[in-house]
Symmetry: none
Subunit: 132 residues, 4 copies
């Protein structure tokens, strides 16, 4: 799966990496049980430090997206990603609230907002027929 890191962006590198891996899982570019590159090879692929990759991996592990084996490297959690629970929903609500508040101020109606959401859902669910 192709990962693009913007070294100039404000968003921390490890966060960009995390989000792209999560997006990869969401759109099934990364299948359950599939291997991820080792910290070292991911780091050299992306031209970043291995500790930065490690930080992203550790957090993904913590959140249940991946398993890290001492020897066999890193795999997408073969048992699936932990499903939404109350704590997650509460955090999602907290993240969403300021985005919607600003949208309201700027005249974005619920209908338009839902269209944006729909577009992202569709992008993620879009079935890839064949890809590298």
């Amino acid at each position: 799966m192709y990962i693009h890191i913007d070294l100039e962006a404000e968003e921390p590198i490890y966060t960009q990496l995390k989000n792209q891996i999560i997006a990869g899982v969401a759109r099934k570019d990364l299948l359950l049980g599939e291997s991820l590159p080792s910290v070292r090879s991911m780091a050299s692929d992306l031209g970043i430090n291995l500790h930065t990759v490690n930080k992203a991996y550790q957090q993904l592990k913590q959140e249940g997206f991946i398993l890290i084996h001492r020897q066999r490297g890193v795999v997408i959690n073969p048992e699936g990603i932990p499903q939404a629970n109350d704590e997650y929903r509460k955090n999602l609500q907290k993240s969403l609230h300021p985005l919607i508040a600003e949208a309201v101020c700027r005249g974005v109606k619920e209908e338009e907002f839902n269209k944006m959401v729909k577009a992202i859902y569709e992008e993620l669910n879009h079935i890839k027929e064949d890809h590298e």
Copy 2:
């Protein structure tokens, strides 16, 4: 309008302040042209640093939410908040994308997601009969 700052939260204080003012505008607790406390009084009301309030105000000014006059103090932009443009929509899309990607991984369907969005829209649109 009552503003609550959580000094323990991960979210920077100036961001909390910004978001609550934006939420205040969204739910019309703060009306166009309405005055906001000066940097000094806001800081002392909340028990936080001048610089912190100033940072929040400067960003709100930058984003068109407020005007800062030397004499007349700080007011919600009387001409209204700049409406959504392409840049804003692009940023909103960028903020929304990782939230939805994780939601997909955790089994939150578009329908449930839309319900959360709807709940927040309703909370913000709820008409306040009187408020301080």
Copy 3:
């Protein structure tokens, strides 16, 4: 609170630090809400790297023992430590099992084992009248 780090020990430094802080909380050398030294001062006090201290602090934060504020440093969780839940009990059971299996092999009866447990509980509960 005095903390001793053995640089030669097999146990990682960050683990030693974590355990001594937890022990400090257990025996009320460290009170809820009490401040801990900043990562930098703790590191220089102990003669170790700030990243090592940071790793210990991050894990303690993760496990609910401490709060980390961007500016005001580190404090013992003023709301108290998260109480035992099923997951914690399961892990404790898993940690205990091999210790007891070996004890059985080496002829340590349950009675003697309980005496060791009791001694540690008493050491931790021993009320400190005054100390630095």
Copy 4:
């Protein structure tokens, strides 16, 4: 005796193997003088590396649990496991201390802790009528 290795676990494989053999001895699934599979066959049974089994065996030998003869293979120490001495007790105390410190912090009283210990002792002492 059935041995289960969890390749996903954080615990190193050689440690899992060691602990399960020790547990086998404790619950008399493995009797004094009983043979253990050779390094080679144990490795192929479990689908793990020779070196890994060897490391576990060497440590078990070092700690007096097993004897390794060139010809007669590997047997549980027929003279019995070396009984607890001061050094062992000191190490056990060191292992137990952080577990109990955390238990105290999390509100696990000595009484509950003793119940967990009792349950493990009982599991280990449970007499097996027949086993493979």
